[in-house]
Amino acid sequence: MTEVTMTVNGKSVSAQAEGRTLLVNYLREGLGLTGTHVGCDTSQCGACVVHVDGKAVKSCTVFAMDVAGAQVLTIEGMANADGSLGVVQQAFQDHHGLQCGFCTPGMVMTTAALLADNPRPTEAEVRHELEGNICRCTGYHNIVKAVLAASGQDAGAMAAE
């Protein structure tokens, strides 16, 4: 076991890790940040997406040791400073973009990264970019709406309901 240090949600943190400890397990068990979820173990479902140095990554595919010293952002760091929901989080609530909540942290983290790269995506771009995140509850309708709304677009009109 080795002490691994990184910056998570703006704070310098340390926890013990083995060589085989995945970043998701380091976050969940080492730091108690259980908002990041494990849905598939094989980098398919995206429930474990976090940001490492500004990029969305699947934290079940990264060894904790490999990102020692990195800047990591998780779902626990997405709210505004006053505790209110951030723009992406608020859009998901406003548009009912979540049901059971299990895939939600990964969806929010992927969305934040997507909008940082492409601030006004088309519906097709949103659907393509969300391919790496599986949701079984929503049929994606309201997730896509939430992402479009978070980008400042008229999601209701784009969904043509």
Partner: protein, 792 residues
């Protein structure tokens, strides 16, 4: 003008805040002092005799605390089937024991025969691999194909069941001769053989369980991913472990989706309890995704021959079906009800069809158990009916919209007794069909088809008019049908001294939004702010009783129990108010949160009455108990019957066979709607799963019983770019006539109505494109299958 609070308002969900900030608490998020980790050791072969398990090989490994095998559980009970089905000849179904851990034989890939408990997960995982290598299993031939299973009596999943048949059920057997005669006399008979593909429910949260044992009191606690903690408690206590019910607390905290797969009790739950007692420490287990694929109860998996007798004008005269239903290697808790009373009873659809007969043989195979998955039996019935109606239209050259209109029951025919044993209480199927036709712009289809053609695509349109029976279920009826439980539900409404309210409900929310919707109803009925109402669910120590959430029953059954309990609160409040206001009880009215003396301005607020109940200084103590808390159990008088019309448009690429679902329109009748936003979300989710079944998802075992689709690399889950925006409508409402809220349930509709609409659209596209030899393609309509069909 839409309401912004109370019943009918699209209130935003309060539970979203914790889920969006990473503060939900799912079972695997809990970390307990002294915890240990269990890893299951699962069969890698579909069928085999366990020769030896060398537990000594792992007992000295680092961190290993205990090893369990089937031997440790051979003297406890089996996990039972919840419904007893009798065969046509009156004999009861064959019901082999389903042990906590396999003993003697393993019967499917993934069948757990041992478990290792260790200090860390990694140590348990390492030891489980070593134990797997130190186990000798003699391979036996696998029974995989259902037709082969029935035909070959020498190869048996269970040694005592020679033909692998669980039951051979006829519904309704006494009607068989009349149906045969009607079919024989029919001017035209349409025949279709089809497969309803096996699906894996795939809740995004894998199953997980934590067992605790408290030696000081002898109490157990099970925290588990369950849709119905009380049923799990009942099964663990009364059937499997023999623990007194009052010594086991079952908690289902935040649960990440269920879709049926978390209704059932699984062996891992008993294992972690037994291990916690032996070790005196908490024992936790969480499935990996591949374990979920291998060991969660799967859904569907029917092979059906359906015949429909009709006139040349398209009037349906008779329906007859023969189905082989796969139950897998063991009977899961609802597995015998799903292909029978949730399937055969729906085989008249929404139509006036005088003669219906259903035959179902349930077959054991060396595959994972199959049970209820979103819709459960009703999607299978709907798919069979709506596909054969569509085929009839093609054979007779009739318009599928007109044929439905000819046959749909009309509003004046309710209540309507079907030939398969149900009484539909109310509906207006023409209205939902008309609404769907309008919203889908059926009139504009030809223009859209021409546009698709310009882009080299074949466009087709498919229709499905569907009905389901949900709000499960009237106990007296299901008792007659073989259920071994009642299917009522319960609620306690506790008014606290300061006027806030806690509602303990037997329903369990794992995505449905009960924490938001139930308070909307309480607030409306009591004239108070919804924010002062809290929903408590998922804990047998906190709630009176409950049968959980499945079968679109939460609101119709548990919600009705809550409604009844609120009525009792109001009734008691009137007694208190009468005393305080010095009036006759009969003169007290309750409205807008106030108890008033009729015809006067004398009134007490709800809060004043609540306070008086707990500080009874001016209170009729000689005739009335203090406190303000009421419990109600509600047993529904009938099923509820949501219904609707779905229209799908697809584009098919002739060159590759790829199907794109380009539009999907739903017009549903759910009765009264409590929160439109949530109802629409439920339909979206159901349709997403239905499109998944129709286009993408296939659970494939090879001839040796190896699961070829055991991860998200191999099992095609619908993703965001596989589906379009959906158009959903629920304005054509006929309120349920027999529950107090007038609600019917919306959770399963999308998954029930959508698969035939998709497949009908694909066949339509191919037919219009000149491929007139293609009359059916089994689901999923993958590029390979569509291309093969086109080029056959």
């Amino acid at each position: 003008m839409p309401k912004d609070t109370g019943i009918g308002a699209s209130t935003k969900r309060r539970e979203d805040i914790r889920f969006l900030t990473g503060r939900g608490v799912y079972t695997d998020d809990l970390s307990l002092h002294g915890q240990t980790f269990a890893v299951m050791v699962r069969s890698t072969v579909a069928h085999g005799r366990i020769v030896s398990i060398d537990t000594a090989a792992v007992e000295a490994m680092p961190g290993v605390l205990a090893v369990f095998t089937g031997e440790d559980f051979k003297d406890v009970g089996g996990n039972p089937a919840g419904w007893l089905i009798n065969s046509r000849d009156g004999t009861p179904m064959r019901e082999p024991k389903r042990p906590v851990l396999a003993h003697g034989k393993v019967r499917h890939v993934g069948d757990a025969y041992a478990a290792v408990i260790a200090e860390t997960y990694a140590q348990a995982k390492d030891a489980a691999q070593v134990l797997s290598d130190a186990t000798v299993i003699e391979d036996l031939p696998a029974v995989v194909d259902m037709r082969g299973a029935v035909a070959d009596a020498s190869n048996r999943v269970h040694d005592e069941i020679p033909d692998n048949v669980c039951f051979d059920w006829g519904w309704i057997e006494d009607n068989r001769a009349a149906v045969d005669a009607a079919m024989k006399a029919a001017p035209h008979v349409v025949t279709l053989e089809l497969t309803n593909n096996r699906l894996v429910p795939n809740a995004m949260e894998p199953r997980a369980s934590i067992g605790e044992y408290f030696p000081g009191t002898g109490d157990y606690k099970l925290t588990t991913t369950s849709q119905n903690p009380h049923l799990t408690r009942l099964l663990v206590c009364a059937f499997v472990m023999g623990i007194p019910e009052n010594k086991l607390q079952v908690v289902a905290p935040d649960v990440g989706g269920g879709f049926g797969s978390k209704i059932y009790h699984y062996g891992e739950e008993a294992l972690v309890l037994a291990a916690a007692k032996r070790l005196g420490r908490p024992v936790r287990w969480t499935a990996e995704r591949t374990e979920s694929f291998l060991s969660d109860a799967h859904g569907r998996d029917h092979v059906t021959k359906i015949e429909m007798g009709c006139t040349l004008e398209g009037d349906i005269l008779a329906i007859r079906t023969e189905t082989l239903a796969n139950v897998g290697a063991y009977l899961s808790n609802f597995s015998t009800a799903t292909p029978t009373f949730l399937h055969g009873t729906l085989m008249a659809g929404p139509y006036k069809v005088p003669h219906v007969y259903v035959n179902v043989k349930a077959v054991f195979t060396n595959t994972a158990p199959v049970d209820a998955y979103r819709g459960a039996g009703r999607p299978e019935a709907t798919y069979s009916i709506e596909r054969v109606v569509d085929k009839m239209c093609r054979e007779l050259g009739l318009d599928p919209f007109e044929v439905r209109r000819r046959n749909l029951l009309t509003p004046d025919q309710f209540p309507y007794t079907t030939p398969v044993g149900l009484v539909y209480d109310t509906g207006n199927y023409q209205a939902t069909l008309d609404k769907a036709v309008e919203l889908a712009d059926v009139a504009g289809f030809e223009a859209r088809r021409a546009d698709s053609a310009k882009r080299g695509k074949l466009r087709g349109m498919g229709l499905s008019t569907w009905i389901e029976a949900c709000g499960i279920a009237p106990s007296h009826l299901v008792g007659v049908l073989g259920a071994r439980v009642g299917l009522y539900d319960a609620a306690t409404v506790r008014v606290n001294a300061t006027g806030t309210i806690s509602v303990m409900t037997g329903a369990h929310s794992h995505g449905q939004g009960h924490e938001t919707v139930f308070p909307q109803i309480v607030a409306e009925k009591l004239g108070i702010d919804a924010s002062s109402v809290e929903i408590v669910h998922g804990d047998t120590a906190k709630i009176p009783f409950g049968m959980g959430s499945y079968g679109s029953r939460s609101l119709a059954v548990a919600g009705s129990a809550m409604d009844r309990a609120i009525d009792k609160i109001i009734a008691k409040g009137k007694k208190i108010a009468a005393h305080m206001l010095e009036a006759a009880e009969g003169d007290i009215t309750f409205a807008d949160g106030k108890f008033s003396v009729a015809g006067t301005d004398k009134a007490k607020t709800f809060g004043e009455i609540a306070f008086s109940a707990y500080v009874p200084h001016n209170y009729p103590l000689e005739t009335l108990e203090p406190g303000l808390e009421e419990t109600a159990f509600y047993d529904p008088a009938n099923f509820t019957y949501p219904a609707g019309a779905y229209i799908c448009e697809v584009e098919v690429d002739e060159g590759t066979g790829k199907v794109d679902v380009v539009s999907f329109t739903c017009a549903d009748d759910f009765g009264n709607v409590m929160n439109p936003m949530i109802v629409e979300g439920q339909v979206h989710g159901g349709v997403g799963q239905g499109i998944g079944q129709a286009v993408l998802e296939s659970t494939t075992y090879d001839e040796n019983g190896q699961l070829l689709t055991g991860s998200y690399m191999d099992y095609a889950m619908p993703r965001a770019d596989d589906v379009p925006f959906y158009t959903v409508d629920h304005s054509c409402n006929t309120p349920c006539t027999h529950n107090p809220l007038g609600v019917k349930g919306c959770g399963e509709a999308g998954a029930i109505g959508s698969p035939p609409a998709v497949v009908n659209a694909v066949i339509d596209a191919l037919q219009r494109g000149g491929h007139t030899h293609v009359t059916h393609i089994d689901m999923p309509v993958s590029p390979n299958r569509v291309w093969q069909a086109i080029n056959a």
